[in-house]
């Protein structure tokens, strides 16, 4: 059942991406902003402008441009960035690991904190720890990630400057990386001082991204746990004399996690989207930061490549959510 499900979902990816590519391609060409016009200096003649337009293939009709671009994409060629003058695929591949490391770390942090807080809140239901956790969750949820970023910069970068507020690594670090997964590579190579530096740089953007998501997970899971704790099988466990901690973690958590997993997946997509602003604020060199630059420069090939990349991330995240949902809930798997 699962392989057929996966195959069906994988086959659906192609038309989805095809649709995304058409929408993105057409939208980018009808919204204001012409990269060639932004490039021309004072004194350029119409012939100079036409020459540049031809050089970048923007002199053709939208349909022709799309067919050329799509044909190249099928060969794995997303074109050359107008502003960065490099292969779009190479640029994205070099920056994506930074975003993935940041987003996944934030996700892990949010999940760990969210589950912990939900369990604590449920264990001490209607007592002061639950009130504290509800208060913290409300606070975390009320403040958007970019605002957390600015607060952290002010608090921990300026007033009490203990953490770096920009970049991914100390520019004075001389280590040559062979992959762009700096965190994983430094860990595997046993370069713990570099690892510590990377974590220091990642900490503030990671926490800023994680806090709103933590609140969502806490609230959803806590509500779900409350409901689960009223089920008959939980009462049976209580009669059997199991401790409340054991009932919560061993008996109730798995069932209560189902809605949280679905929600976390959707929230992960928002989290990846949130990296655009957070990476900008912390000058973090990921694809989010690159996306803003591409939009400002009207770098059409790069924007197209980035949106397709984001779409692929979203599609695979949703696929993973569906799979995990089936794992957690056998009823869905058997349908």
């Amino acid at each position: 059942m699962a392989p057929r499900f996966i195959l069906r979902r994988l086959l659906l990816i192609l038309p989805t991406l095809f649709g995304v590519s058409i929408i993105v391609f057409v939208l980018l060409r009808v919204i204001p902003g012409d990269p060639i016009v932004m490039m021309i200096p004072p004194g350029a003649t119409q012939a100079d402008i036409d020459n540049l337009r031809q050089l970048y293939g923007l002199d053709k009709s939208i349909l022709d441009q799309y067919l050329i671009w799509f044909g190249a994409v099928l060969d794995g060629d997303f074109g050359i960035s107008i502003s960065l003058r490099q292969d779009v695929v190479g640029l994205i591949v070099s920056r994506l690991p930074a975003t993935l490391e940041l987003a996944l770390s934030a996700m892990v942090l949010a999940v760990v904190l969210g589950i912990t807080m939900a369990i604590i809140g449920t264990y001490w239901q209607n007592r002061w720890p639950e009130a504290v956790i509800d208060g913290i969750s409300g606070f975390n949820q009320a403040i958007p990630d970019f605002l957390w970023g600015l607060i952290f910069i002010l608090m921990l970068g300026v007033l009490w400057p203990i953490l770096p507020i920009s970049g991914r690594i100390d520019p004075r670090t001389g280590m040559e990386f062979t992959t762009q997964f700096y965190l994983a590579e430094s860990l595997l190579r046993g370069e713990f001082s570099i690892l510590a530096d990377l974590v220091r740089h990642m900490l503030l953007p990671m926490v800023a991204l994680a806090l709103p998501l933590t609140a969502v997970i806490t609230r959803t899971l806590k509500a779900s746990l409350f409901e689960t704790m009223t089920q008959d099988y939980i009462m049976l466990s209580e009669i059997k004399g199991f401790s409340r901690w054991r009932i919560l973690i061993v008996e109730a958590l798995r069932n209560a996690l189902i809605p949280t997993v679905a929600l976390s997946g959707v929230q992960f997509n928002f989290l990846v989207g949130g990296t655009v602003l957070i990476e900008r604020i912390f000058s973090y060199p990921g694809i989010g930061n690159m996306a803003i630059g591409a939009v400002i420069d009207r770098d059409l090939p790069l924007i197209q490549g980035l949106i397709i990349t984001f779409a692929i991330i979203f599609i695979f995240t949703n696929l993973l959510i569906d799979l995990s949902y089936r794992l957690l809930n056998p009823r869905v798997a058997n349908e």
Binding site: G33, M38, P41, Q86, I153, I296
Partner: protein
Amino acid sequence: MRFKSLSIMFALCIATMAHVQAADDDVLTIAYNVNLPSWDPTVGLSAVNPTIQSIYKSVFDQYVDQNPDLSFKPGLLTGWGWNEDRTRIWLEVRDDAYWHDGSKVTPQDVVWSLERAGHPDTGNPIMFVWSKVANFSIDGNRITGDVVSFEPTLFKWMAFLTAYILPQKYYEEVGAEGFESAPVGSGPYMVDQFERNSFVRLKRFDKYWGPQPEFETVIFKFVTDASSRVAEIESGSSDITIEIPYEEYDRLRAKEGLVGRSTPVSDIGMIFINDVEVMEDANVRKALAHAIDKNAIVEHLLRGYGVPIDTLQAPQYSAFDSSISVAYDPEKAKMLLAESGYSTDNPVRFKIQTTRGFKPKDYEMIQAIVGMWRKVGAEAEIEVYEIAKHFELRALDTLAPAAFYNWGNAIGDPSTSTGFAMFGPSPHSTWDTDDLDAMIGPLWGEQDEDKRIAGYQAVDRYIAENAYVIPLLQFIQPIVHRDGIEVTPHVANFILPQSVTKTN
């Protein structure tokens, strides 16, 4: 007790992670406001982006260099000039310059760079200038070339956008992509590490022909968010920063350990007037110009950080003429509008376009100006757009009757301000009338420099009298740096690490 232990553990963790960037005497860190998109300073979008020229000028040599006051000085060329009848040029290449790979800079590199820049397939946006000279020949260190079409500002352009010399042999060996990943120049610093969108680390080039920079290592951190740049300098993570809000500049320079430097730069805030609708009425244009209190705008909105101007020439430009002025005179503005049948009860109506946040207080300035206009009988509707939209509309000559813009002119020549901004056939002009084109047209090829400059001054006077454009102010660049270093402000808006010195 358990809580106390946890607190101590947390404090120890924080202390371990504490990142206090110790001031390193030989490392200069600059929190820079833009990213470096590409390492080829002669091709593509980034080549004509004035804000990243500081980095290019640290790594590459230009044919001709500029002093902080915009005057010209030798770069990789020690001499340059025209022949008697201006049909040929000559260039003298310095003998003591080396590429960062250790090889010598040759006159052939200079010729190759010029020919490449003038070739249409290269994608140099300034090709229209470089293609005006050709057929170069080399004799020792002297290069001569034919003038295809006379360009009076050719040698000024040699200190401007895309005027960089690249190493022919190395570039041909590694290709465009190879050059992007390992650029080689002949400037005072060489590229040590480049982390796209994050930072570039430069190392002092010991074989540089000019004075050795004082800092061995320079780090340009790309911090595009203004509040993050403020935090960078305030926390001591960076030594210098630029392009911060004036309010923050005033706050930071009052802090112990930080120094503020502000200098007028070659950026002019102006209102383009398009020759459409009500702007075809001279009374309306002149009234709008007389109704603006530029001093009040500078004083109250920009906290004094601006220089009111009445032509497109800043005081540092070669055609600046202080005798040309447009007085703030609201009564005269009312009278002019009354002559055309307008009053506060029956205002003249039009649209003004502006960016918001592209330049300091741009939107607020336009709001204030619209308020001033309202008092004399002009009702302007504000439309906010992105700068990309402005470029597009300007190229199509479809801007609104009035539109705010910032015009940069790092070489200070009148042709690259009044010329391109006001000459009808230029893709950058919005005012498009025969009278003005007839005045500017002959100046493009004028061989007598004094006559050319005087001609542009006459044009500026004529423009001011007819209010074909409304110049507002010259912007001031706020620079904040830490104590213990000296930064030399540059009118062209460069932050050059090679000119930063230590004071103790």
